[in-house]
C-alpha cells in the first residue's frame, strides 16, 4: 500500500505534512476555523471552531438536527454531493484547507474514509467489496493480503475467511457494517469518519463496532457521530456537544458547537448548563 500511496501525486505541502506525521510532530489532524455550512438559505451549522487530534476517537453528540452529521460530511467533502450546500470558514487537514480551489475532493476522500449510518456494502462478493478501493487506486499485487489484513483489522476475518466469494448482502447487518469498515481501511486512510455507525444494529453488533473503534484508534484518527451518549462515553477520547440554537430575532435555527473537551470531563464536569442538561437526559 505504501507503493500505492507513493503513486498518488501529492502536492508538496501535503508531502511535508505527511513527513511530519511520520515523525509524530503534528498531533492535530483537522483544524476548523469559523466553519458554517449552509443548504441554500438554511444555515445547518454555524461558526464552529475546533481541532481534531491524531489517533484519537472524537465523538460528536447532540440532539437531532443539530448539524453534527452535516459537519462530519464536510470533513471529506461528501457535502459536495448535496446541491446548493456551501461551506464557509476553513477546514484544514494537516495544514491544508480542503476547500481550497486546488484541492481535488477525490484525493481528500482517499485519505479520509467514511462509514455510513446504514451498512452499504456493494452487491458483490465480500472480497470484491474490500478490493474495490485499492484496485481503484491502481493496486494490482498483494490484493489478497490487503483484503485479509483489512478484514482482520475490522474483526471480521474469522467469520468470513471461508466465504470470501459469497455475496456481501448475505452477511448480517453488524457484519455488513464491519465489512464497510474493512472496505474503508483497505485504502489505508488517515482518518475514518463514522456517521452513527451502530444506530441500525442490535446491541451485540453495536458492542463489536465499539470495540473495533477503540482498536482502530491506534492506527487511525476517528470521528464518530452518535445519538447514543453511553456510546460516546465508552469509545471516545474527546467529545463535542452540538445543540440547536434558535435566534429569536431572526426566527432562524442553526446548529452550534456548545462544548468540546475530553470525554471524561464533558460527562462528569461539563462547563455549560446545556451540556449538563443534555447528558442528564433532560432534552434531546
Amino acid at each position: 500500500m505504501t507503493e500505492a500511496l507513493k503513486e498518488i501525486s501529492l502536492n508538496t505541502e501535503m508531502e511535508k505534512t505527511l513527513e511530519n506525521l511520520d515523525k509524530g510532530l503534528d498531533e492535530t489532524v483537522f483544524s476548523l476555523n469559523d466553519v458554517s455550512i449552509k443548504y441554500g438559505d438554511f444555515r445547518a451549522v454555524s461558526h464552529v471552531n475546533m481541532e481534531i487530534s491524531k489517533n484519537q476517537v472524537t465523538a460528536f453528540i447532540g440532539p437531532s438536527g443539530c448539524g453534527k452529521s452535516t459537519l462530519l460530511r464536510a470533513f471529506n467533502r461528501m457535502n459536495d454531493l448535496i446541491l446548493a450546500s456551501s461551506v464557509s470558514g476553513t477546514i484544514t487537514y494537516h495544514g491544508k484547507n480542503i476547500y481550497d480551489q486546488d484541492v481535488d475532493p477525490v484525493e481528500v476522500r482517499r485519505r479520509i474514509g467514511m462509514v455510513f449510518q446504514q451498512p452499504n456494502p456493494f452487491p458483490k462478493s465480500i472480497y470484491e467489496n474490500v478490493a474495490f478501493g485499492p484496485r481503484n487506486h491502481g493496486v494490482k499485487e498483494n490484493l489478497d493480503e490487503i483484503v485479509e489484513t483489512s478484514l482482520k483489522r475490522a474483526a471480521l476475518w474469522d467469520e468470513v475467511k471461508d466465504k470470501l466469494n459469497t455475496s456481501a448482502l448475505s452477511l448480517s447487518g453488524g457484519q455488513q457494517q464491519r465489512l464497510c469498515i474493512a472496505r474503508a481501511i483497505a485504502v489505508e486512510p488517515d482518518v475514518i469518519l463514522m456517521d452513527e455507525p451502530a444506530s441500525a444494529l442490535d446491541p451485540i453488533a453495536t458492542l463489536k463496532i465499539e470495540h473495533l473503534m477503540r482498536d482502530l484508534a491506534t492506527h487511525y484518527t476517528i470521528i464518530v457521530v452518535t445519538h447514543n451518549m453511553q456510546q460516546a462515553l465508552r469509545v471516545s477520547d474527546k467529545t463535542a456537544f452540538f445543540n440547536l440554537e434558535v435566534d429569536e430575532e431572526k426566527g432562524t435555527r442553526s446548529g452550534v458547537l456548545v462544548e468540546y473537551g475530553p470525554t471524561s470531563k464533558l460527562f462528569t464536569n461539563p462547563e455549560n448548563e446545556k451540556t449538563s442538561d443534555y447528558i442528564k437526559g433532560k432534552f434531546g
Partner: protein
Amino acid sequence: MKILSSPLSTTTDIANALKTSNSRNLKERLFQSFLLLSTLIALFILMVLLIDIMYQGFGRLNLDFLTDYTSRRASRTGIRTGLTGTLSLMVLVALIAFPIGVGAAIYLECFAPKNWFTKFMQVNIANLAGVPSVVYGLLAAALFAYILNFGRSLLTGALALVLLILPVIIVAGREAIKAVSPSIYQGALALGATPWQAVYKQVLPVAMPGILTGTILALSRAIGEAAPILVAGAVFSRRADNEPWNIFEPFGALPVQIFDFVKRPQPEFQIEVAAAGIIVMLVVLLIMNSAAIILRNRYSK
C-alpha cells in the same frame, strides 16, 4: 362506516353492524367480473389471431422457407432476405443505440447539472418516445440518405430505428439507474473513487439488467416496424442480391417482406406465405422477449 358513526351498545347492534351488506357485495362482484371480462377479451382476440395465423401458415413452414430466396411462385418462395435483413438490422441498431442511449441516460441521471435546460431536455426525450415511427423514417431518409449521402440502405434503415428507440432506451436506462440506491454511489465515493469510477464500477452493474431489459424490449418493438425502414431503404426483395452484407445497400426485412406477400395477387401468397412469415417474425420477437425475461431474472436474484 356504520360502525364509526353510531355508538353501539348491545351485542346485537355489533352483530348487525358487522354483517356484509348485500349491495356492496354485488358492486364488488360486478367490478371483479368486469375486470375478468377485460382480461378474457384481450386474451381471446390474441388467441384467435395466433390460432388463425398458425392454421394458415404452419403448413407452409419448413427449413426451406427460412433459407430460400423469394420467388414468383408461392410454393418455392422463402424469406431468407427478410430474415437475414432483420437480424443484421437488429445487430446494427443494438450496436449504435445501446452505447448512445446508455451514455445519455448516465449523463442525465448522474452528471447533468440540475437546471431548466436539463429538465427541458428530459421532458422532450420522454415526448420523443411518442412520435409516430414513420416520422423517424422520414427524418432518417432526409438526414442520412440524402444529406449524409448514405443512400437508401441498411445503415439508413438502422439509423431510422435507432432514432425511434433511443428515447425508450434513455428513459428505461434512467429509471434503472435511478433505482440503484444512492448509498452505493456514496459508498464508492467515500473510498476515493472518482464519480465516473463509482458510476461505472458500482452503479452501472447494478442497473445493467434493467437497462438491458429496456433495450431488448425497445429493440423487439423496433424490428417489427415496417413504416420507418420502408422510407429509409428497405426493399421488397424478389431477387437474390438483397442480402445485407453491405450496409450501404438496400436490404430486406421481415415486416416489409410480409407486407409484400400480402400485396401480391395470388391467394397462396396473401394467406399461407404471409402467415408463415408472420410466424417467423413472432418467433424472433418471442426469443428476444424471453432473453429480456431471462436477463432480468438472472440478475434480480
